[in-house]
Structures are given as C-alpha cells and as structure tokens.
C-alpha cells in the first residue's frame, strides 16, 4: 500500500489534470475519477519505481482520454450543426412542394372549361410538377440523412 500522504499529493495533481476535461464531463465524472485514481494509487504502491511508473501511465492515459473527449465533443457539435441544416432543408423542401401542388391545383381549377391558349396550362404545370418531384426527393434525402446523423450522435 502507498503511504496516504503520497496518495493525497498525487490526487491533488490528478485533480488539476482533470480540469482539462470539458466542463460537462468533469462535473459528471470528475469526483468519481479522482476517487478511482486514489483507490488505484493505494494498490500500486509497493515500491517507488513502481509507483512512479504507475503514475506516469495513469497521467498519460487520462491525458489521452481528455484529448479524445474534446475531439468527440467537437465532432458532435459539427454533427448537431449538420442536423440543424438538414432540418431546415427538409422543411423548406416540404413547404416548396406544398406551395407548388397548391399552385398547380389552383391553376387547374382556373383553367377548367377554358379552351385555346387560356386553357393550355401544360407549359406551366409540367415544370411545376417536375419541381414538386425534386422538392419531394430533397425532403426525403434530407430526412434520411438527418435521421442517420441523429443516430450517430446518439442520445447525448
């Protein structure tokens, strides 16, 4: 067992290292990590060399984990931005499709019973239908990609 004073000193330094974690993570696990570190320190204290080796390993391991945690957070934030954009695109595409369909229906109602140039609405309806299809496809693609991104980010 390592002497308690040595464990206490190492714990103080470890607590300082933990400050490098993202705030949210530190608030949630900081104390538990410190405690686990102290427990582990007590078990690895047979000799000075062993203790120093153990401390170097734990500090390096935790430092690597801190970097990983920051990278993960950055990636998640990036994904959240993507999700926001995809959501906007989806709603815009749905709105465009609804407006186009409404326009086509109104045009068809107005053109009903008319003949000649007044009744020929094919030149307007055909591109409008095409745009409606495009909007529909965009909405579906955005929804699928949004869902995928949400699944990847997983419930944090």
């Amino acid at each position: 067992m390592a002497p308690e004073s040595s464990v206490h000193r190492s714990r103080i330094w470890y607590a300082r290292l933990l400050r490098l974690y993202p705030t949210q993570f530190r608030e949630r696990f900081g104390e538990a990590m410190e405690q686990t570190f102290a427990d582990t320190c007590r078990q690895h204290g047979k000799g000075d060399a062993e203790r120093v080796g153990f401390l170097i390993w734990v500090f390096a391991e935790t430092f690597t984990a801190i970097i990983r945690e920051h990278v993960t957070r950055l990636r998640r934030n990036g994904m959240r931005d993507d999700i926001r954009v995809l959501k906007t695109v989806r709603y815009a595409a749905i709105a465009a499709a609804v407006l186009l369909v409404t326009g086509i229906v109104i045009l068809m109602v107005l053109a009903r019973g008319k003949t000649g140039d007044d009744g020929d609405i094919a030149g307007v309806v055909a591109p409008a239908l095409f745009l409606t299809c495009v909007s529909g496809v965009v909405a579906v693609v955005a929804t699928v990609r949004q869902k995928r991104a949400q699944r990847r980010i997983v419930r944090p």
Partner: protein, 128 residues
Amino acid sequence: MYPRRIYCAFVVKSADSPLTPAVLHILLALAHEERHGYGIMKQVESDSAGKVRMGPGTLYGSLGRMLEAGLIRESDKRVDREMDDERRIYYAISDLGRTTLAAELQRYRDVLTVARRSPRARDFAHGT
C-alpha cells in the same frame, strides 16, 4: 443484429462493427453485479487475467458513452461495504446492455465456429 439504439458512433465505429474492447469488458464486469468505477477496473483486470489494464480516463469515457447509449445505468445500491462512500457511483447493466452483450458474445461464438471449420484458420491457430 443489434438494436439500432446501441449503434453510437462513439461507442462502436460503425453500424456493423463490434463493440470496443473497453465496452465489452465493462459489460462483462457488470453482467452479474453492480459495481463502482474502481470495482469495474479490478474486475476487468481479474477477468482478463491482467491482460486488459484500464485507466480512469478510458473507463469513465466509456462509461459516459455507455450511459448515453443506454447500455448501463447509475444505481443507488451500495454493494461494496468495505469501500463504501456516499459519493461513490455504482453502475448496473441495463436490459439493452444485456441484449447487446449476448449478441456480441454470440458474434464471437459464430466467428469461432467459422474459424474451427476452416483448415486455414486452424493453421493460424497453431502459429504456422
């Protein structure tokens, strides 16, 4: 193969890839008993006969992601009377965690079955 929820990009690499070794070992350590962080570390070390050494950084990073993915949950129960402390957090495996662990172990069994059937894999097993 697994329920979709567990496919967290940060727990596993992609939808078809296996659980990370840390996550698998933690699930195994929690399979029969609720444990606190240090208890999990000790159990993982003993389960793997000292081959897997997990530091607090890896342990709590994995625990955080597993909590988010619903594989484990925090527990109020105090099991370790010797080391008990009000602030010590215990973790327990969830139903989703059990399903995931069972699916992962089945995957390992399937791989082993394939390896045992293949003469080439047998050669590898004998180091030739």
